[in-house]
């Protein structure tokens, strides 16, 4: 009977996404027919009431992307968590993975619905663009639908088979389903990325006179920015998934009624934050790669992005990333309050905070900004007499690398807080770890300062050495730490659940900031095409052809984030009504008795 109920539920939940996919297939087939042959001339643009076509398509695309990022990021985490649970025989990780997948299940329908809304919006508001893209990419659109179908089936098998295939080889088979789910999800993403990136960077042989039927498919598919976007989105989805899970855990923690619930959601929040910040650390490197490829494709586009009308966007981005680093570290420092033995590290947090604050200030210092004559006069020249020195890439790269090192140090202190290593060479190992930190910081600083004395083309290369120094330190120190902490004694159980509420609000701020940042970067990626639907191939001749200023973009982004969080909250609430949350069995340790002195 339970199997039959489960099957019915599966079919019910499968039906909606599949219906949406079916609608997309039908529309695609309609568009594949040459409407012109019937003597009908399709309009170029449609109208959307009140907010206009641009805002309408923007909101539809952004909401679809938010949900898509979530349903792509969470399975990556689930499958890793399940594997950890299997290898370490820790059931709490398995339960955590299952709870994440339960959230995923409900969000999947929303992703499909917003995907359908986006397709309808494109067809009705931008029929010329849609027709063009459909003609260039028709084969991949069919494949997309097929993969989407397989992804849906795999997801439902993965979730509903969780308790059925939980032992022995069957468990490994179940984990294989999770891996397969990730493969389908990644395939869906890279196919859709090709459509978006083609609009940014069409192949050189495609001109305004090139008929879409003459565009070579693979050349259009694997265009110049396709792979950098794939990598960047892949990592960003992990960050996003971790952040939303963290926010979910924070929400549940704040509403928890028992110590057991609080302990479970505290632990889940920590894991979500750990995933998000860990992936965030490598995201800037993917961003550099993407930026470099944009410059390679078209220098004018690159210059528009970094120094043109979008130059101020990067100041806002620096502000947001500053918030992420500060909130992420703050959460860890507060979390040390529930770890016996962490007291010995707490005096150092003020120095870590100082490095982060100074780093954020340097990173947010503008340099190459478009300025009016009045603004130049007020500043006393093109650059500020003192702060202008901090605006160059040498200073910014140095700042961000030191911020990454600092955040890594926070994680390391957190990790070691309640452990007492038992190996004989612990002092030597710790000295090596400390030396690695000092050396990499010195390398970062050296190249940061030296960069002021060499030509720009040489200076750009220095960022590679800085990144390598930081990455090497992270890898070596972690590897060393894993070995050093084997068989370590515990200084006491982590008191999961005994976190002040303010730490949970930090998790919520992290999620809001990640989501907003994703919207901002989406605006940057799309906006650098300026008045082109397909860059220098298909011109935007609509009334909304001009790319809006950042203020307007911020209002749309905030509206999208609010709608997304509202819908996610509703979905989670509905999910909570349907099924009881799976409590992982993380032990909640009572607080120590207050010292009673004489």
């Amino acid at each position: 009977m339970p199997e039959r109920t489960s099957l019915a539920r599966t079919l019910r939940r499968t039906a909606l996404p599949l219906l949406c996919a079916g609608a997309g297939v039908t529309l695609l087939s309609l568009l594949a027919e040459p409407l012109l042959a019937q003597g009908y001339t399709p309009r170029e643009y449609g109208d959307f009431p009140i907010i206009g076509s641009r805002a309408a398509i923007w909101i539809a695309a952004q909401l679809h992307l938010f949900f898509a990022a979530f349903v792509l990021g969470v399975p990556m985490f689930s499958v890793v968590a399940e594997l950890i649970g299997m290898l370490n025989k820790e059931e709490r990780f398995d339960k955590l993975a299952k709870e994440f997948t339960r959230l995923l299940l409900i969000s999947y329908s929303a992703t499909a619905i917003w995907g359908a809304v986006l397709v309808f919006a494109l067809i009705t508001l931008y029929p010329r663009v849609w027709g063009y893209l459909a003609e260039v990419f028709a084969p991949s659109m069919w494949v997309y639908v097929g993969v989407f179908f397989l992804e849906s089936l795999t997801l439902y098998l993965y979730y509903y088979g969780w308790d059925h295939w939980k032992k022995g080889r069957a468990k490994w088979g179940h984990w294989g389903l999770g891996v397969l789910l990730n493969i389908w999800g990644t395939l869906v993403m890279v196919i859709a990325n090709s459509w978006v990136t083609y609009m940014m960077s069409p192949p050189a042989e495609v001109t305004p006179d090139t008929s879409p039927s003459m565009v070579r498919f693979w050349s259009a598919f694997a265009n110049a920015t396709w792979m950098p976007i794939n990598i960047h989105r892949f990592i960003a989805n992990i960050v996003f998934g971790g952040a939303i899970v963290g926010a979910y855990a924070a929400f549940r923690f704040l509403h928890a009624e028992t110590d057991e619930e609080r302990a479970h959601y505290d632990w889940m929040g920590y894991i979500g934050n750990f995933v998000a910040i860990s992936a965030l650390i490598v995201l800037p490197f993917a961003g550099y790669y993407l930026g470099r490829e944009i410059y390679e494709f078209n220098q004018q586009m690159g210059t528009t992005m970094m120094g043109g009308f979008m130059s101020w966007l990067w100041v806002v981005q620096a502000f947001l990333i500053g918030v992420l680093f500060l909130a992420g570290n703050y959460y860890l420092w507060v979390g040390m309050g529930r770890i016996p033995g962490a007291e010995r590290f707490q005096p150092y947090t003020k120095y870590l905070l100082a490095v982060l604050v100074i780093g954020v200030m340097v990173w947010a210092t503008p340099r190459n900004m478009i300025a009016s004559r009045d603004e130049l006069t007020a500043m006393g020249g093109q650059f500020h007499p003192f702060l202008g020195v901090l605006g160059v890439m040498s200073a910014k790269n140095t700042a961000v690398n030191l911020m990454i090192l600092t955040t890594f140090l926070s994680f390391l202190l957190y990790r070691r807080a309640n452990k007492r290593p038992t190996i004989s060479w612990v002092r030597r190992g710790t000295t090596i770890q400390g030396a690695m930190f000092v050396i990499s910081a010195a390398v970062v600083l050296f190249f940061g300062v030296y960069g002021y004395f060499v030509p720009p083309i040489v200076r750009i290369g220095f960022s590679v050495y800085q990144v390598l120094a930081v990455l090497t330190t992270i890898i070596v120190v972690v590897a060393l730490d894993v070995v050093m902490m084997r068989g370590a004694e515990s200084r006491g159980e982590i008191r999961w659940g005994q976190m002040p509420d303010r730490s949970q609000y930090a998790l919520l701020i992290l999620a809001v900031t990640f989501t907003w940042l994703m919207g901002l970067m989406g605006f940057a990626r799309s906006g650098i095409r300026q008045h082109w639907h397909v860059f220098e191939v298909m011109r935007d001749t609509s009334v909304d052809a001009a790319t809006p200023a950042l203020g307007y973009a911020a209002i749309v982004i905030s509206a999208c984030v609010l709608m997304f969080l509202g819908m996610v909250s509703f979905i989670f609430w509905i999910g909570g009504l349907a099924e009881k949350p799976v409590i992982s069995g993380v032990g909640s340790v009572p607080p120590p008795e207050p010292a009673t002195g004489d």
Binding site: P208, M310, I457, E536, A546
Partner: protein, 258 residues
């Protein structure tokens, strides 16, 4: 109460970011206006149109508003005056109008020492737009010599050769290279400037396939000794050649054995 607190934190965070983004200077990317001038266009009309392009859709101030990427054209540069004052003295034998026009249509032709070649892509602008820009720049301290005749002939040229198509029908490799301004960066038998790899002896250094690839996708692979210039050659050159011209050029350059 907890829900209200959560809502407050979310709304407060969103409000803060929205405020920050609205507190900074608001720059909109303007669409370059299509210009259709007749032969009796006035100087004032040209200058006004050029000014709008320069400050807006042309994207010029992205670099020329900064001293780091490009010389400022509207203010003095190293004591030589504004662009209208210094344009006539930049290249011997080239008057102000010719100098600015060629600088716009062939950004690698006259690169000022200490700066990178300009990234402006003239091919996406009409002849009238280019001449309006020239008139505006001449007007910065100089005398505007652009006339309606220049605009009219540009319009005829636009009509004859659509943007993005071959610039010449010639099958003489040297002529094709001259028209496409290859000698703005490459040198052959003393003709041209040696910024990029010289055409002299090219066939002894690389084969025809590599030459073809370098024209089709110049950003893909750097020439030995010119790594720092990777990405500087316009990727649009191939759009300006017919298939036969491309093959002629490839075979011609492959035959330069030194």
């Amino acid at each position: 109460m907890t829900n209200l607190k959560i809502l407050g934190v979310v709304l407060g965070t969103l409000a803060l970011y929205t405020w920050v983004a609205n507190a900074i200077p608001q720059l909109e990317s303007v669409v370059p206006e299509d210009l259709s001038f007749s032969a009796d266009v006035t100087e004032e009309e040209l200058v006004a149109a050029g000014q709008e392009l320069f400050n807006g859709g042309g994207g010029c101030i992205t670099c020329h508003g900064l001293v780091t990427r490009a010389p400022n054209l509207l203010t003095d540069h190293e004591g030589q005056g504004t662009i209208g004052q210094r344009c006539a003295t930049r290249v011997p034998g080239a008057d102000c109008k010719t100098y600015i026009y060629e600088s716009l249509t062939s950004p690698t032709a006259y690169v000022l020492e200490g700066f990178d070649p300009m990234v402006f892509q003239a091919r996406v602008f009409s002849g009238a737009q280019i001449w309006a820009l020239v008139a505006f720049l001449q007007d910065q301290g100089g005398v505007v010599t652009v006339t309606g005749a220049d605009v009219a002939s540009a319009a005829e040229a636009d009509a004859a050769a659509p943007v993005g198509g071959p610039l010449t029908a010639s099958l003489d490799p040297l002529e094709v290279m001259r028209v496409n301004l290859c000698f703005g960066c490459h040198i052959l038998d003393g003709e041209g400037i040696e910024i990029g790899p010289p055409f002299d002896g090219m066939g002894s250094r690389i084969d025809a396939d590599r030459i073809r690839r370098s024209i089709l996708d110049p950003g893909a692979e750097a020439a030995e000794g010119f790594e720092e210039l990777l990405g500087q050659m316009p990727p649009t050159l191939v759009d300006m050649l017919s298939a036969r011209q491309l093959e002629l050029l490839v075979q011609f350059l492959a035959g330069q054995g030194g």
